[in-house]
């Protein structure tokens, strides 16, 4: 069995895909693994890991993303996939993919060479129940249902600085119920480091808790 970890983070707009991908990549890198973090967000290439790539490189990640100065008319003039991102699955080491939002984002995986035959590729949908589009079990089932193949859900319920452990747990109950309804596993519940400490290693539904460090507030445009 392959030891290689290949994960794509998809989900609703502003659900926390980039934050999830960054933190997962860093978690793996801290274990001494070689990790490629790939920006495949062609839907909205502004609010992504592009502005963070230097910081993330310093933290030991191989970051595959356009540099701001390499792009023209961000978003307005269309987005060109970076060749290194298109061939990312052929790279040595783990591959963590940050995908654009919604159905169009999920479709971006079609542009990834070898995506349909990679035995290790897992696609995780990131869910925050504080977002009205994915607030209830029915909403989540409907939303994830539009996204094509999904291997698991991630509970990323939060309200930025206002997040409480109770909110994260409420998210876990709804996300887990939705996952059960779809026959999918919950891969993790994510919470900012301090809150993760309060919740403990597993949440109220028995899902593993992944502590998050927030990078995205620094990623604006």
């Amino acid at each position: 069995m392959s030891d290689r970890i290949v994960e794509a983070y998809i989900g609703e707009y502003a659900s926390g895909k980039s934050e999830s991908a960054i933190n997962r990549a860093l978690e793996l890198a801290r274990k001494g693994r070689k990790v490629n973090l790939v920006d495949l967000d062609l839907v909205e290439p502004f609010y992504t890991l592009r502005p963070l790539q230097e910081e993330l490189s310093r933290l030991g990640l191989e970051v595959i993303a356009w540099k701001t100065e390499e792009t023209v008319g961000l978003g307005e003039a269309g987005t060109v996939i970076k060749p290194a991102a298109r061939w990312a699955l052929r790279r040595i080491g783990d591959v963590i993919l940050d995908i654009g939002y919604g159905i169009e984002g999920a479709r971006t995986l079609n542009l990834l060479e070898g995506a349909d035959e990679d035995p290790d590729l897992k696609i995780f949908a990131v869910i925050n129940i504080s977002r009205p589009m994915t607030a209830s079990v029915a909403d989540i089932v409907a939303e994830v249902g539009t996204m094509g193949h999904v291997d698991g859900l991630i509970n990323n319920t939060h309200l930025a600085e206002e997040t409480t452990a109770a909110l994260v747990q409420a998210g876990s109950r709804i996300v887990t119920t939705a996952a059960n309804a779809m026959g999918l596993p919950v891969i993790a519940t994510q919470a900012e480091e301090k809150l993760a400490g309060v919740i403990g290693p597993v949440d109220c539904m028995g899902n593993r808790v992944r502590p998050l460090k927030r990078f995205m507030p620094k990623a604006f445009w």
């Binding site: 909205e44 008319g73 009205p132 930025a160 445009w221």
Partner: protein
């Protein structure tokens, strides 16, 4: 059977464009007409995703001229109609919105400012102040709210519909690309449950009865034959606008009572000013802050009172003097020093405002 889009008060996490779509639903909007332009696209995306669930409509037109005119047509049929645009799209919308001014049509337009002139950047600026307050070939017979974050976007989008239908002035909600794309928590609510009565639209055309016999004829003109006719029309509209200005105008102010320097900003820049103000006050410095929430009509009384009383003001904006021009006009004749900090097309951080404020205070 349609259900209320926002049943109970709830803390949520959204981007600004989504907030606008939800607010329009909560305000009872019937239809959005739009044409894509960054950074307002997700207003359309979310509205068109949500609309079918609540029995609402959406029409994508071939450009902003037709989106604007379709919005005027929508309100004339008695629909709560709105549109959203930015930058060059907003330039095109001035033609239909000038007609809305002339015909006193209660259109609601969301403007998410991007860089200018022309297509410039898709990102952010505060360079659509002049355009949004005074665009078109007329006298600016319109209401403009400038928001400073997601709660404002929600509250003032809802309010815009009521103000538009109450006074029949085209109404604008002026956001920007930062607010459009940034994400933060806010409370969504059903305005009627908070005691806000949502005005019901009534049609301008196609009314019951025979015109001239059962009711006055519905004649809405944007063309007048004689100068005197136009003069009478404009003077009557301006009189009405000015008589209602004090009721419509809104502002926010803090620590201005004992301030030597008052920092003036609008929109998202005021968030940096608030933060700078907290730091400056903690250092014991006599600084205050003032934010016009309505850029048209401006809170004229408060601005005049302020400039008559304080020694110095500092106007801060992500444009090269667009809000400053409006403030200076109202400050005309006052003895206070007017300082400016213009950063067209880029964001302004609290630290830079703080540094500038200290420099100005230090100067005798």
């Amino acid at each position: 059977m349609t259900v209320a889009p926002v049943k109970e008060e709830k803390r949520v996490f959204m981007t600004g464009n989504e907030v606008v779509a939800w607010a329009a639903l909560a305000a009872g909007a019937d239809i959005m007409y739009g044409y894509p332009i960054t950074p307002q696209n997700e207003v359309m995306h979310y509205w068109s995703r949500l609309a079918p669930r609540y029995g609402k409509s959406f029409l994508q037109t071939e450009d902003e001229l037709s989106a604007g005119f379709a919005t005027t047509g929508g309100v004339m049929t008695g629909s709560k109609a709105f549109t959203a645009t930015a930058g060059s799209g907003s330039v095109l919308m001035q033609e239909p919105m000038a007609m809305a001014e002339m015909m006193r049509l209660p259109t609601v337009t969301i403007v998410q400012q991007r860089g200018g002139p022309s297509t410039a950047t898709v990102i952010y600026s505060q360079q659509e102040v002049t355009l949004t307050t005074m665009g078109g070939n007329g006298e600016g017979i319109r209401v403009v709210y400038s928001t400073a974050g997601h709660q404002d976007l929600y509250d003032y989008t809802i309010k815009a519909f009521n103000i538009a239908w109450k006074y029949r002035f085209p109404t604008f909600v002026l956001g920007d690309g930062y607010q459009a794309k940034m994400r933060e928590p806010l409370t969504i609510y059903d305005p009627e449950k908070r005691g806000v009565k949502l005005l019901q639209p009534d049609p301008f055309v196609g009314k019951e009865g025979e015109p001239g016999r059962d009711r006055p004829p519905a004649q809405y003109r944007n063309t007048y034959n004689l100068e005197e006719e136009l003069y009478e029309k404009i003077m009557s509209d301006m009189k009405e606008f000015e008589e209602n200005s004090a009721d419509i105008a809104e502002y926010e102010s803090s620590y201005t009572e004992d301030a030597e320097l008052v920092i003036i900003a609008h929109g998202i820049v005021f968030r940096a000013v608030r933060e700078a103000l907290d730091n400056l006050r903690q250092q014991g410095l006599p600084v205050g802050a003032f934010r016009p929430v309505t850029l048209r009509p401006l809170p004229v009384g408060q601005i005049k009172e302020l400039v008559a009383r304080v020694k110095k003001i500092l106007v801060v904006e992500s444009a090269y003097g667009q809000i400053a021009r409006l403030i200076k006009e109202k400050a005309c004749g006052a003895a206070c020093e007017i300082h400016t900090m213009f950063k067209p097309g880029i964001g302004i951080a609290a630290e830079e405002v703080e540094v500038r404020a200290k420099e100005i205070l230090a100067k005798q």
